[in-house]
Symmetry: C2
Subunit: 254 residues, 2 copies
């Protein structure tokens, strides 16, 4: 590795809880190896570069539920870890209203180098963590943590909490039901986007083939802008996650 | 690694063709690290330990279609690479009419050690090969190659060629149609078993999340017992695979 940073960060790998948290868009770092892709500081700090607040929320949830956390260490504009290597969005030439000059004329060699340096180590680390827990007889639950921008292409978004699923909808549906019952957040299933938009790659790679209960949590980023907000939302969501899992497992056992 | 053999064999990694062949049950080797699991030579040579003929068939297909081949190096009774670590069939205590003493009282530590020594390197190697090809702009097609026993629990099986799919049935359906048109083999879709039996783990991990065309080929093992038979069946199947892929891609383009 010559990026100057590790390709993936694993916190609390030996945590005893069943929930594994993933934050593919945790970072807006632009390591020297890749440069700034021709972007100025405003673009590098914007939601196109990362999911603001998502790492803090994921850390607070992992702490509350005693789970490991697997997080990205570089901007999604260098490699969006929630996309396969052939997806245009993996190294996008344009994101919302921004052009990404360093991705516009990307070479095959650079595409391969970013895949090997960032995508493969991240997914091997997550896959290894899950396989080891399965071999030990645990029953992992996979939760990816994201944030979305309140205004997209000029349009405000009313949804505050989105819960998205890949092939198995059970945990996501149960989490929406719990959140609607217990919280004041405007909570919606498969909004602001869904698996059909290609946003469940991590779940499709790691949860669906193992039949793991799973959900992708999306918070509107104005609600998790500060550490205090992140802690508050995590404190609200953690009991909903526990209740949602109990709900689907009680139903199975009945 | 202290198994004395590499955990995975990759042949022709730089082959230019689109088809990637996988043989999870290629070997009936019992490396010293794991021992013979309490089995005698008859059981260690039987279909419960490996898929007889499958490696030769996969090699002949990879040669005919200029594709890479990813193959197991140890018996499926030590770790069945087409099963996740928590599946009872990954390290089975019983297989068809045979008890497997070395798996009957397997410890958590041994289950974890086999997962780390065999399952993870195999799937990381295959995942890396696919990701690299996707990053380079190729369009891989994933074909797993298996064989099945002509007599199972005392019942003869009439099917000679089975073609099985995971989520996307297109290539498998097209291959069945081509084989029925061109060959004299008794060819059936999703026989002698299907994804519902948990036999498509490799496809679910590596083809479905990447939307790769895919199929699992199952030959009745009496038809591929010799190298000459393997070469003959491969020479028949290779043009069917090419025609099947063309059929689904022409349909898409139309």
């Amino acid at each position: 590795m010559t990026t100057g940073i590790p390709p993936v960060e694993i916190e609390r790998p030996d945590a005893a809880g069943r929930f594994i948290f993933v934050c593919e868009h945790a970072s807006n770092a632009f390591p020297a190896r890749w440069g700034d892709l021709g972007l100025g500081p405003e673009a590098r700090g914007a939601h196109i570069a990362w999911d603001p607040g998502a790492l803090g929320l994921a850390r607070a949830l992992a702490g509350a539920l005693d789970g490991p956390l697997v997080a990205a260490t570089a901007s999604r504009l260098i490699y969006d870890l929630n996309r396969p290597p052939h997806a245009p969005g993996a190294m996008p030439a344009r994101s919302e209203t921004y052009d990404i000059p360093g991705n516009a004329a990307i070479t095959t060699e650079d595409r391969l180098a970013r895949t090997e340096a960032l995508y493969l180590p991240f997914h091997e680390a997550l896959g290894g963590l899950i396989a080891q827990r399965l071999a030990r007889g645990l029953a992992p639950v996979l939760v990816t943590v994201h944030s979305f921008t309140p205004v997209w292409f000029g349009q405000p978004r009313a949804v505050e909490l989105g819960v998205i699923h890949d092939a198995d909808p059970r945990l996501a549906q149960a989490l929406v039901a719990e959140a609607r019952g217990a919280l004041t957040l405007d909570t919606r299933l498969n909004e602001p986007y869904s698996a059909a938009d290609g946003v469940t790659h991590t779940l499709a790679r790691h949860a669906t083939p193992m039949a793991l209960p799973h959900a992708m949590i999306e918070l509107r980023n104005d609600l998790i802008a500060t550490q205090a907000q992140q802690a508050d939302i995590a404190a609200q969501l953690a009991p909903c996650l526990i209740a949602a899992l109990a709900r689907i497992e009680t139903r199975e056992a009945a």
